[in-house]
Amino acid sequence: MFKIQWVWQYLYFTKDIPEKLTTMIFNSIAFLMFFAIVASVNYILPSAFRWIWILAVSIFFYMYTVPSYVLVPIFIILVTYFGGLLIEKTASGAKKKVFYLSCIILNVGILVFFKYTNFFTNMVIDFANYSRQNFFHVQGTLHNELLIRIFVPLGISYITFQAIGYLIEIKRGTQTAEKNIGHFAAYILFFPKIIAGPVERAHNFLSQINLQKTPDFAACSAGLKQILWGLFKKLVIADRLSIYISTVFDNTVLHSGYTLALCAIFYVFQMYADFSGYTDMALGFSKILGYDLMPNFNRPLAARSVTEFWRKWHISLSTWFGDYFYTPIAIAKRDWGPWAVIYASFITFIVLGFWHGANWTFIIFGFLQGAILTIEFITKKLRKNVRKKIPAVINNTLGILFTFCYFAFSLIFFRANSVTDALEIIKGIFNAKGTLFIPEQYMVLYPLFGIGIMLFVEWMDYYKHSTFGYFSHQNIIVRYSAYLAVSILILLLGIFDGGQFIYFQF
């Protein structure tokens, strides 16, 4: 007899999960060995069987963290696969809408349940406590008995979003439902993108699975270069900065405004190096397996407005929100004129912020994006007129600086554990007295050096049309020197003590 307690017990968790997760992150020897095996077998297998292998290792990869939790994505896959076929088959009308909405709600429900239950129950309890004290004048505080200790299944945010996007496209008629459940499962569970995206579009990936392209030398070579570059960014820049920034931000009251400001600036680079580095590795690993995933970044630090920034940062996520949130809302409200844009921007970015985590800090992060986008939208004509009177160099520089600083400011909320912590940091930046805190010079010099190289390579890629700087030079000696130089820098300056990847529990 099935008891509801069994479900609760199954989900209840006390294991020391983070320890195990660390061993399968991309910059770990365990993963590299795993991948070497996966790629070799993938290459040897005849094309028709490759997807089976990819699906099998993806399931293994997923179960490596906590085995029983793989049932969650499997459930989502089944619902979405059958739902997709059903929606496609059903003629337009109420029935189609019902199937469609049920599948969407199921996916959203799973996401909300795992990620946001505690957030919402806490909110209810906080409100109850507030009312008791201020309206009913009752003593004592309620404790949240409904808090569940649940570990969020790996990549649940990416999984549900890919599933939802798939369903939306089917309902719109722009995507044919995938007939092969194995292919669909491989799309959802594809291990290089399960931890931190990109949020891949169904048609892009499914078409590649159907093609069964054999990875050729060009793909493998490009993939390896991308992995090496990603490793550099993550180990030398991101994980280095993380040490310094954590030391400061975990003890904000002890530090001067200069130190806090420096860390806020550094944090942008840490975020970028970490996330784009990890994405580069994901794309690189995928290339070696014969799959081209969508890029997630396009020189975001060179954006001259926050509007432009969000076209270049976490592109897979912002386009997902653009296509499935912003556009439908703005279209539906288009009679409001400019208010439609403002309304849609705020809602979209608040939800986008909230997607990152179950905390008010993320909501504020999103709100800040919506606010500046609105301001930029309203002042578009004005700024254009100003631009005509000022030399382009100054315009662009000011734009880049402003965008960078605004993003750094909003990231303070993103990083802080609570809104009060974030406000403390901001207050500290403007008020705290004291000198710059640098315990060891190398703590700052090494990542600065890495940032310099990263920016130089990005500049080179844009203006000289290279790919990862000298990695794509025609001269073989120059290329190999570049690979070796980067590898040596990783060995000398990289962090090997297991820095944690930021975009992890999403």
């Binding site: 653009g322 912003y326 556009t327 279209i331 539906a332 004129g337």
Partner: protein, 83 residues
């Protein structure tokens, strides 16, 4: 209205809505990626301007299915025919 006429009529609409300094170049195969300033934010204004110009009204579904200017023209064509 002929497709080529619709295309010609769209040029000032695009130019105005996208706040472009010079006439936007449009062909049947043009997509948002090809036009500077045409993104999700300006797309809405574009749609509103097009609906105003041709005195038609699209459904959300129709708007979201256009992949390029050609499909947009087809959509406009059909709407005009229905009137």
């Amino acid at each position: 209205m002929e497709r080529i006429e619709i295309l010609k009529a769209l040029i000032p609409v695009f130019t105005e809505a996208l706040d472009s300094d010079f006439d936007v170049i449009l062909k049947e195969a043009t997509t948002a990626a090809d036009v500077n300033g045409w993104d999700s934010l300006t797309h809405i204004q574009l749609v509103v301007a097009i609906e105003k110009k041709f005195k038609i009204r699209f459904t959300s579904k129709e708007i979201q299915t256009w992949k390029n200017v050609g499909e947009l023209i087809t959509g406009i064509e059909n709407k005009i025919k229905m009137q």
